[in-house]
């Protein structure tokens, strides 16, 4: 059991930010670049001409830049959490937070970009389709629930006796 003075919040926040960044990379790399089923503004600029494809490429690049910054912030937060002795170093908490972050990204990005602003959809040629709802339901809500369940399990880890290597080194 984690000690009464332990504080999981910094680890959960760091893992969640990393999950948001890595989830963004999965979206950008797999859906935008490898499968090319949509791009950042593919509903506004259908990538069926070189000019439109290049315009989308620039916005995809900016999207990746923001995911990179998010991931860098997550690494920094994780490093700082590792230096705090009251933060339990729980693998399940971290993995759960990563999955939760990925789910938050999918849910937020899906609601805003796919449904509210309609700037792109999961499979662009279909418009709003079952894929968009699966993206929200499975990639969003289910991932968040699985992440939260893992975080809850991790909070019971007996990690009071050994914290992160960084914190141990400072003991």
């Amino acid at each position: 059991m984690a000690t009464n003075h332990s504080n999981l919040r910094p680890l959960i926040a760091a893992g969640t930010v990393l999950g948001i960044g890595m989830g963004g990379f999965v979206d950008g790399i797999v859906l935008h670049q490898i499968l090319q089923v949509h791009n950042m503004l593919s509903a506004k600029f259908p990538p069926n001409t070189l000019v439109n494809a290049e315009i989308n490429m620039v916005w995809d690049g900016l999207f990746h830049a923001f995911t990179w910054v998010t991931t860098a912030i997550g690494i920094s937060m994780l490093w700082k959490a590792g230096q705090r002795r009251e933060v339990p170093w729980s693998t399940r908490t971290l993995v759960g937070s990563l999955i939760q972050g990925w789910g938050i990204f999918n849910l937020v990005e899906g609601i805003i970009d796919h449904h509210l602003l309609n700037v792109h959809h999961v499979i662009e040629r279909l418009g709003v389709s079952i894929a968009d709802w699966l993206f929200l339901g499975v990639g969003g809500v289910l991932f968040i629930l699985v992440g939260r369940a893992l975080i809850k399990t991790g909070s019971r880890d007996d990690v009071g006796s050994h914290s992160s290597p960084a914190a141990a080194g400072r003991a």
Binding site: E54, W59, I112
Partner: protein
Amino acid sequence: MSERAKALQKAASGVLGGALLFLGNSSTAWGCPVCNSGTGKAVRAGLFGQEFGFNLFVTVIPFVVCALIVAGIYYGPPGQRRARKEE
């Protein structure tokens, strides 16, 4: 170097030279946003049109919302925050 290897090298350099000559003269191939070509200019016009601000907003806004959610996770609801400070 054998005659066969020399012939292959010559053929390869010919293909590469031909490709570069073709790409260099093709306006569609050099359509990058910083290229000074018809396609490049069209890409810039599409990027920096009237909706540039809105497009930037839609690219950024999911990250802003996610950051607010993480802040909520880190600091907790206002009631819990006050209770922790009083401890």
